[in-house]
């Protein structure tokens, strides 16, 4: 697989996740792959936003990165270690996932829910590990949930609940965090709040100042606000990768989403903002002018 490795760009960030020749798919091996073959480097200690139209393979890619879906071909290195060599628990101490639709169990308090994140650090029978309390406490503090720690999860608002799920992932204390559309169902203010929280996540192992975060996001301007790095997928392949300013350009948006759009810089923060154009928009403006 290393034969396909592209020459490393000088001065580039070290890869947090390095995919080489990765192919993912469902059903028999003869069925066409949903993702790949794909070579992809996701920078360590940075937030990467994965964007793409529906059914472009975003969620499948994430399932491959959590090893929920076995690789059909290729290899994944996580922080320079071959993922296939790690046990399930060791992998869960390295890579955490916030799925798109987590199941809220009935009759569980926020603290109990967050404590579930400690599972990979415990023995097989789930006995308490040293540092559990510290990890749960910092996760709750960071997600601003300390005051709600003894509340039943089912009584939380949508925004609070999503923070509780994020706190579970934080308690897992992994250097790599994967998020599958973490802002679905949230009001806009809660989306911004959550993504800023994600952007500030530290690397709990202390290897780097910040954790390696990979988030599937569908709101492009918000993705550009939070991301250091961006990957656009189309048809299970990488259509473009780079900084948000490099990826969010009209040509890429046209290929990936079939969208006619203008891109302008945010007046305050400078990140690109996407302005979609409908079929009649340009003609109408020109007609008026």
């Amino acid at each position: 697989m290393t034969t396909t490795t592209p020459a490393p760009t000088p001065g580039a960030d070290p890869a947090g996740l390095r995919l080489r020749g990765v192919e993912l798919g469902y059903g028999p091996a003869s069925a066409p792959p949903v993702v790949g073959p794909m070579d992809l480097d996701l920078p360590a200690g940075r937030v990467t936003a994965v964007i793409g139209a529906n059914a472009c393979g975003k969620s499948t890619l994430l399932r491959g990165l959590t090893r929920q879906l076995p690789l059909r071909a290729g290899s994944i290195d996580v922080l320079d270690r071959d993922a296939a060599a790690l046990s399930a628990r060791a992998y869960a101490r390295t890579v955490a996932l916030l799925p798109q639709h987590p199941v809220a169990p009935e009759g569980m308090t926020v603290a109990q829910l967050v404590e579930r994140g400690r599972n990979p650090h415990r023995g097989l029978l789930g006995g308490r590990a040293p540092g559990d309390d510290d990890a749960v406490a910092s996760a709750l503090e960071r997600a601003d949930l300390l005051g709600l720690a003894d509340r039943d999860v089912s009584t939380l608002s949508g925004g609070q609940r999503q923070r509780a799920w994020l706190a579970l992932v934080l308690a897992q204390a992994t250097p790599v965090v994967l998020l599958d559309e973490p802002t679905s169902y949230l009001d806009l203010n809660h989306q911004v709040e959550l993504l800023d929280l994600v952007r500030g996540l530290p690397d709990p192992t202390g290897r780097a100042p910040r954790a390696t975060v990979v988030a599937v996001l569908h709101e492009l301007s918000l993705a550009a606000r939070v991301a250091d790095h961006m990957v656009a997928l189309a048809g299970g392949r990488v259509a473009a990768a780079g900084t948000p300013a490099e990826v969010l350009v009209p040509e890429v948006l046209a290929t990936v989403f079939g969208l006619d759009a203008d891109v302008v810089p945010d007046p305050l923060l400078g990140h690109p903002v996407v302005l979609p154009r409908g079929a009649g928009d340009r003609g109408a403006r020109e007609g008026a002018a």
């Binding site: 890579v95 996932l97 799925p99 987590p102 308090t109 994140g117 503090e141 169902y185 923060l269």
Partner: protein, 367 residues
Amino acid sequence: MSPALPLTAAPTGPSADARDAVARLRRAGRRRLTLATAGLAALLVGLVLLRVTWGTYQVTVPDLVRILGGEVIPGASFIVLESKLPRAVAAMLSGAALGAAGALYRRTLRNPLASPDILGVTSGAAAGVVLLLAVTAGQAGGSTDLARAGAALAGGAAAAAAVFLAARSIGGERFVVAGIAVSAAGQAVVAGTMLSLAQHDLQSATVWIAGSLNGVTWGRIGLMAAALAVLLPLGAALHAALAPADVGPDLAHALGARPGPTGAAALAVGAALAAAATAAVGPLAFVALLATPLARGIAGGRPSLPVAALTGAVLVVLADVVAAEAVGLLAGGAALPTGVLTGAAGAPLMLWLLLRQGAVRAGARPA
């Protein structure tokens, strides 16, 4: 890049307040669990004592102690050692087995209505037993306790496998409906076979189908106890290993658990526990279904297999006290099969669970 956003510095530990709050909550939860376990154990001991001493034939506690010490009191010794005590022990063990089985099913399938009695295991095990009885009816000596336990296990396993194959995956509503269908088939086989077997003894057939502690023997109790000695620790370990599965299969996987294989093992152990109980005492309706939500309520929402097992034991001993002795005192000597009581009391509770499940789903829906 968005340099205007602040970058948080490298991790710092939690504040002392936060750490204290978390530790306090955890200790409170643990204390509640310890209290629940101790309270249920005390209640169980009390109920077993009541079952052995009280009823249409009363035995004083000093007499009971003397009998258990080996002394022979004419009449009392026989009734205690051959009727009251075996019933109480069988009720306790079968209740514990069903409660633990319910907890395993509940945690694996993440559905409060999924329990081995609803999903066909109990009736499959009962069908295995009656089919064995039908085959051995004409033979001298009939069937041994061991053969009976084996038939129950085979029937329960066949039912569980049928549900699994029909639903093709663990969990989901498909699994529940397949279970109900298999359960109906098992019940039909039991009822039909028993009626054919017992043309002249309809009453005793009626009693067995309903689940009864009448015919229990020390031999059957010994087999059940041996099975439980293996299955309960195994079940407790699987139950603990499935803790991450409470938050859904995707997240469980990301937490390093293997919900698929562990869940399948948990269902197999749960089915074996339910079959062991059924082989000894017949199909006791709803105990497995009810023990888990009750146990969760008692333990403050924490799923715990020991608490569920204790709750199941308390339920069956209590039901047996009421069915065999209290009804007897009220209705002049008649006694109900214990399973009738658990069935009649369980149906409204199951309907209530169904209503509550709807409410929980609504709460769980993303806002």
